[in-house]
């Protein structure tokens, strides 16, 4: 069958195996008025160079604390943060104020914010020049770089405008241009699209994706919107209660039986039509998508297969097909056909029978 046309997986040319952001056993505990709140509970995060990595979770899951710990805007209670080979937690020292070395390291990490955080008293160009002023660049160099960046984000004509005169999407573009001023290797995005409408969100995500591809920029983004992960991320992690409960590349996640993220990225509906029926979710990606497996299955075992739901989508640049089919008979009767599908290299989930499968965290 050709549900998913056999397009080869688009090359993730910028992704290398080097880890550019690593957190080890990161813990953050907030203490206020004798109460302790654990925001991060032993987080190990590995972001590879050149990828777009999404951390998704509900509000209060600890995503915001996590991204703020990466450039040490928040001091982790314990654990280490390494960015581009530099142990930032070691640079931070003990005091609450950032020393010179930490500030230098921060200037090489760009950050964009949900509410843009542009200075209303400065023009767009002056906002983009701000990080360059902090780096001590000369006036000529600053304006050349700022105009170049504004051109890159498509706002060359707005250099003299004030932030209040821009739309939300334009403000975020300025925020992105500003974040790139220090030529960072890493861009942190703190819910950068959460204050924007769906269309603007798409254009900002496309911009992030382009920058990732063109500049080889590593992007770590946090979001509560599954669509964001779906449209731009190479890898993703799901956070719950201060822990990362699932993580991996999108294809790894899709290949993980019972993965919550995979199910959320690619939801399938359809209930079993009767007691004596077995519902099976089939995930096709890459090579396996080209084989006519469903008709082979029907012919080999002489069974009738109904399709309850099916979809093809692009997730993180990968074309993926998913199908929910129904086989006659109980699960026990269908062990052989299910085994046949597995043998064909497809990923099979049997809803309600997750316990049969070993749930393994893809790393």
């Amino acid at each position: 069958m050709h549900l998913c046309p056999g397009t080869p997986t688009p090359a993730h040319s910028t992704v290398t195996e080097t880890h550019v952001i690593t957190t080890t056993d990161l813990t953050k505990v907030y203490r206020s008025r004798g109460r302790e709140v654990t925001a991060l509970d032993g987080v190990d995060l590995h972001v590879r160079e050149g990828e777009v990595y999404g951390v998704i979770g509900q509000s209060g899951a600890g995503k915001s604390s996590l991204i703020r710990c990466v450039n040490l805007l928040e001091r982790p209670t314990s654990g280490t943060v390494t960015v581009a080979g530099q142990d930032l937690t070691a640079l931070a020292g003990r005091g609450s104020r950032a020393g010179r070395e930490l500030r230098q390291a921060r200037s090489r990490i760009g950050m964009v914010f949900q509410h843009f955080n542009l200075l209303s008293s400065r023009t767009v160009q002056d906002n983009v020049e701000l990080p360059l002023e902090i780096l001590g660049k000369s006036g000529g160099e600053r304006s050349r770089k700022a105009l170049e960046l504004l051109d890159l984000v498509g706002l060359a004509d707005k250099a003299g405008a004030y932030p209040a005169q821009l739309s939300g999407g334009q403000k975020q573009r300025v925020g992105i241009a500003r974040a790139l001023a220090g030529d960072p290797k890493v861009l942190l995005s703190d819910e950068a699209t959460s204050a924007l409408d769906p269309e603007t969100t798409r254009s900002i995500l496309a911009l992030l994706r382009d920058l990732n591809r063109q500049l080889g920029l590593t992007v770590l983004l946090i979001t509560h919107e599954m669509d964001v992960v779906k449209s731009v991320c190479d890898s993703a992690a799901l956070m719950e209660n201060g822990r990362i409960v699932e993580s991996g590349t999108v294809s790894e996640l899709l290949a993980t039986p019972g993965s919550e993220l995979a199910a959320a990225l690619f939801p399938l509906d359809g209930e079993a039509s009767g007691e004596d029926r077995t519902v099976v979710d089939v995930t096709f990606q890459g090579e396996s998508a080209t084989q006519p497996v469903i008709s082979q299955l029907a012919r080999t075992y002489n069974i009738d297969i109904s399709i309850l739901g099916a979809a093809i989508d692009t997730v993180g640049g990968l074309q993926v097909g998913r199908m929910r089919i129904e086989l006659p008979g109980r699960y026990e009767d269908n062990v052989v056909p299910i085994g046949f599908l597995r043998e064909k290299g497809l990923q099979i989930d049997v809803p309600g029978h997750e316990s049969v499968l070993v749930k393994e965290g893809a790393q």
């Binding site: 805007l73 104020r97 500030r103 200037s107």
Partner: protein
């Protein structure tokens, strides 16, 4: 009194008032601005969090603000003599005026600076800026419209205080109004000084509001904001 008699007196009084208020405003801004910013920075959760320092500065400011100006002036006489070498005249009046205005202005600065969105501070920190960068590039420029309004309020308050400076022989419009208008029953003289004070204060207030507004306009609220305000008022 004829106008030719009054004119030189009034002219001199105007200059005395401007002189006293001008210098003491300058000193109040130079002293009160850092003090107000320090109040914000040392507060709990601030960039230079220091609860003890915050409490101490806060208390000093509160005490200085709670003293009526006339008492402050008398209480500071020794200090005034140490600074200016005299306790009478315009220069001597500037010292208590400035000392009284510094905590007043500092509190206004504190309020203005506290209004600055913490996200902006965070953004500058994320760029690698230190506390001084935050103060210079964020806190002061972003609160500038409010700071100008605070300065206007301080100038107007200082004009009020300066009326009492006549007690130490510093002259000024308030002094003329009391000496001629009240003590010598020169009602005309009093009404003229009142008119001059009213005009001076209106001009200062207008200029201050204009400056604050024109700075603010480039920021936000250029278009639909006034309409919204009208709608709210109507509902």
């Amino acid at each position: 009194m004829t106008w030719s008699e009054m004119q030189p007196l009034l002219e001199q009084a105007c200059w005395d008032t401007l002189y006293m208020v001008g210098w003491s405003t300058l000193i109040a801004v130079v002293g009160g601005l850092p003090l107000g910013i320090l109040l914000v920075l040392t507060d709990r959760g601030g960039l230079l969090q220091n609860v003890v320092a915050n409490k101490v500065i806060g208390q000093i400011v509160n005490i200085a603000r709670s003293l009526p100006f006339i008492i402050l002036m008398v209480a500071l006489m020794t200090f005034t003599r140490w600074i200016t070498g005299t306790t009478i005249g315009r220069e001597a009046a500037i010292v208590p005026l400035a000392v009284g205005a510094i905590p007043f202005f500092a509190r206004l600065v504190e309020t203005a600076v506290r209004e600055v969105d913490h996200g902006l501070v965070e953004a500058v920190q994320a760029m690698g800026g230190n506390t001084w960068t935050v103060v210079r590039k964020v806190l002061v420029p972003e609160s500038l419209p409010s700071l100008i309004s605070s300065t206007t309020t301080t100038v107007v308050a200082l004009i009020g205080y300066s009326a009492m400076a006549g007690t130490v022989g510093a002259g000024g419009l308030g002094d003329i109004a009391i000496r001629y208008g009240y003590q010598r029953f020169e009602t005309q003289m009093m009404w003229i000084t009142v008119a001059i004070l009213a005009v001076v204060i209106s001009v200062i207030q207008f200029a201050g509001d204009y400056a604050a507004r024109s700075l603010h306009r480039r920021g936000a609220h250029s278009g639909p904001a006034p309409k919204l305000r009208l709608l709210k008022a109507a509902s």
